[in-house]
Chain length 501, copies 2
């Protein structure tokens, strides 16, 4: 039935609920809370029905959904029928391998909104409990690329990507990308905002410059500089990813097949041909054992090769935070210091190791000598120079100094309760505390560590500082320190370590 | 934050969306489409947030949710935290066995509304793809009983239950229950309304008498008669079941662990001690092979025994509809005829076989002679007499005659396109056609078969009639006959049979 579109006086976020009059509901045999198919021109999406007391042939929806549908004046509402993709999801739950067309159909229906969150949850669950083989992951990746935009460039495209999971990691790309670019290698890095971490690379880069660009603006950027770091969210690359991630986040699951497909689809959508994957490995990282890391590396390589990508994987240490700073502004400051040749050794070591592998892939350094060449570039000041060009091209202030970067105006020091050696600096508690302090939305919020594993401390010595722009948030974050125990000192480990999610 | 409750001018069905002013959302750090915890006294439930332009400390919700929450004047809204049960669901997806407390926590959160449909979808998916062992199904059943009402009676309780899936099956209980009751056996049968079939036993029984009773009314009924057939939906028995079924229905899945737990929990909530399970087996039934039926029988027996139930399982033929009538009124008429000793042999055979097994369990017939005794009861008119008492006690008209039962006022005859033998009368197409005609909501809608498998037909002979009270629905149902081919005649089978969901 054709219905006139009107706006609702309410925001519903991602809820696809539309309001229709009782009479329309009756005529279409629709019930409150039930599903219906909504057509805008020939594009189909599934909506949930709310029935209100209004009159006429009108459908009310939220401003967000209105925009997503392309601001239609009129829509066509029809009774729900079960899409074929639900049958394919059920097949996967029944442990049947899916073919290319079936996976494409599922992803197409994810993107268009034909599949509801409940059905997507079953798809994600099936990936976790049944799993996908190499071919299925290849199909999944292709489908995710094929249902979104693809940006093209007129030169070979390189990129680096860390699977994340370790706080403080976002600054690595900020040091590595200009180092790679200064060797004449084109690296248009798309990055993500934090979902569960204190700072995504995009959040940290945004401290220096805007990170949201249109496809045309990206093309222009590519003409000006060889490297940049932008947020991938506005470019419509592999849009299935965002929808799937929201459901995964609700279920607190992250199936490996979906992770591999998500990463590779975003990269293929940027026409990346040569990719380095970083797998931080260690206690409380996404990958905890070397064995697991090797399996994942092999999976990335097989799937990547199946998709025509030249791919290398670096397994790095992720058993404690990278460097000392956690949170966008604090990490931005540490990254800038690293580009100036200062700051913690560990950041410079990791960034040059990553950059070195790309230099080798691009033939800009002999095999095994990449890190040495990268270190030389960083030491010479070339990385910093290219970083300034990059910030300038992106619309930021290239002359910013570390001390110009504003961090949270409230600050608390956490001190050592006893003498001893630091036996652990833990990723998960630090992540929870930094987020409680306000990161990543409050760019100044976060943690500055003063110690790392193995350091000797005296009672009363500062172990870490927590920063925030909100006094109540800082208080809440500080309270978490005593329950989550983010830093342990020899002797403290006798007590059991609490569980956290 | 304490919020005053107000009613929304819209019906939302099962959607747990609440509307709050922008200012409240900001203070609680809630986003549109996101989750929050809602407390009424100490009872917690999860709601989804919509933000509107209103003022003050007010929360607006649908009348349905308002009732479910006990019509509170004030509620307490808090930011969402991930319930522990989500962690247990994730464990199950990771193929870890769950303990009794973990499963109880999941089911408790299903019933209270703490778990959302997305999370429940993951739980159902895990049951399908990972599976549950005997102990887990026992825990699941116990949890489902423990989170609902339990009715007690002062005499031993017997019951029969068919797992369903075969059209025309609802009349079997209507013949079997009075036959069992007339032997002095107490059988307070709770039954369900159709979800995917053309008629649940409750839908068909409702043609004779009201089927909705309160717990107190059931206690009164039990004093008057030894047997009755009521709808279980109003008694608050194992309320998790309804919520889980709605999600299973959306995903078109029916995990065996959940099916067993659902059936047994409903029965244990009625204090059933002695149970007969009927597994109709055959092409297009829920269970297609005898091997599968035996496995399921063994599962029911092991779980039932683990729960202290005395249980027997009958495997019956379900490869075509039971009897000739499909749909509430048509089946009610055929059931009444069967009670009068008329109607199709197959209905009387199945009903007495089922009743006979209960007679044996209750010691009212020697082992192996139950069916013979049941047939004698039916033939003697005692079943009909007890049925009339039962209808009378339930508030219906005990003197109703088969010809008094109104069937759909519109009717179409489907005729044989050729001479030959009937090679198949198919459950799934007949179900779809009967539902398209309006069953079970339109009680008069359905199908009256004129032939069964093996019958010889002449070209132009009537194969079946479709009934409906709606002319357009009848037309739609009739159109489906040519595509779904519900009855095949020798020679027709050369063409491929279409797929249907």
């Amino acid at each position: 039935m054709k219905l006139r579109v009107d706006l609702l006086d309410a925001e519903l976020g991602d809820l696809r609920v539309v309001f229709i009059p009782q009479k329309v509901a009756e005529e279409l045999d629709l019930i409150p809370g039930g599903k219906a198919r909504l057509y805008v021109n020939s594009r189909e999406t599934t909506v949930l029905i709310a029935v209100n007391g209004s009159q006429g042939k009108v459908l009310r929806l939220s401003k967000k959904l209105f925009k997503e549908l392309g601001e239609p004046k009129e829509v066509d509402l029809k009774p729900h029928i079960v899409p074929a993709s639900v049958t394919y999801i059920r097949k996967k739950l029944d442990k049947v391998k899916l073919g290319e067309k079936e996976i494409f159909e599922i992803i197409k229906d994810v993107v268009s909104g034909v599949l509801t969150d409940v059905e997507i949850a079953a798809f994600v669950s099936a990936q976790l409990s049944v799993g996908m083989d190499i071919n299925e992951i290849i199909y999944l990746t292709k489908a995710m690329v094929g249902t979104g935009n693809v940006l093209k460039f007129d030169k070979p495209v390189y990129d680096i990507h860390s699977i994340g999971g370790v706080p403080g990691n976002s600054k690595v790309s900020i040091v590595a990308v200009p180092t790679i670019a200064s060797a004449g290698i084109f690296i248009p890095k798309t990055s993500s905002r934090a979902i569960t971490s204190p700072a995504g690379t995009a959040d940290t880069m945004e401290v220096f410059a805007p990170v949201e660009f249109t496809a045309d603006e990206v093309t222009e950027l590519a003409k000006k500089v060889n490297g940049f770091i932008i947020w991938g969210g506005t470019l419509g690359l592999a849009p299935a990813d965002d929808i799937l991630i929201k459901v995964e986040y609700q279920l607190r699951v992250d199936p490996v097949s979906q992770m591999v497909a998500s990463i590779l689809s975003k990269k293929l959508s940027m026409s990346v041909q040569n990719l380095l994957i970083d797998i931080p490995t260690g206690r409380e990282a996404k990958v905890e054992s070397l064995k697991e890391a090797r399996n994942l590396a092999s999976l990335f390589t097989q799937v990547g090769n199946g998709l025509g990508l030249s791919i290398r994987v670096g397994i790095t240490y992720g058993g404690q935070p990278i460097g000392y700073a956690i949170g966008p502004a604090l990490e931005a400051r540490e990254a800038l210091e690293s580009l100036m040749g200062k700051g913690p050794t560990s950041v410079r070591e990791k960034a040059t190791a990553i950059a070195g592998l790309i230099l080798e892939m691009a033939g800009q350094a002999p095999k095994g000598a990449g890190k040495k060449v990268a270190k030389e570039i960083l030491r010479s000041g070339k990385s910093l120079e290219v970083f300034k060009e990059m910030v300038n091209a992106m619309g930021g202030n290239p002359e910013v100094k570390p001390e110009d970067i504003e961090v949270g105006k409230h600050r608390v020091e956490i001190k050592a309760p006893m003498d001893g050696y630091v036996t652990g600096v833990y990723n998960k508690p630090l992540t929870i505390i930094a987020r409680a302090a306000g990161a990543p939305v409050d760019k100044g919020a976060g943690i500055l560590l003063h110690v790392k594993r193995g350091h000797k401390v005296k009672e009363g010595q500062v172990l870490m500082e927590i920063y925030s722009n909100s006094a109540p948030r800082l208080q809440e974050a500080t309270k978490l320190v005593s329950t989550l125990k983010p830093i342990s000192i020899e002797g403290m480990l006798l007590e059991t370590y609490p569980e956290y999610v």
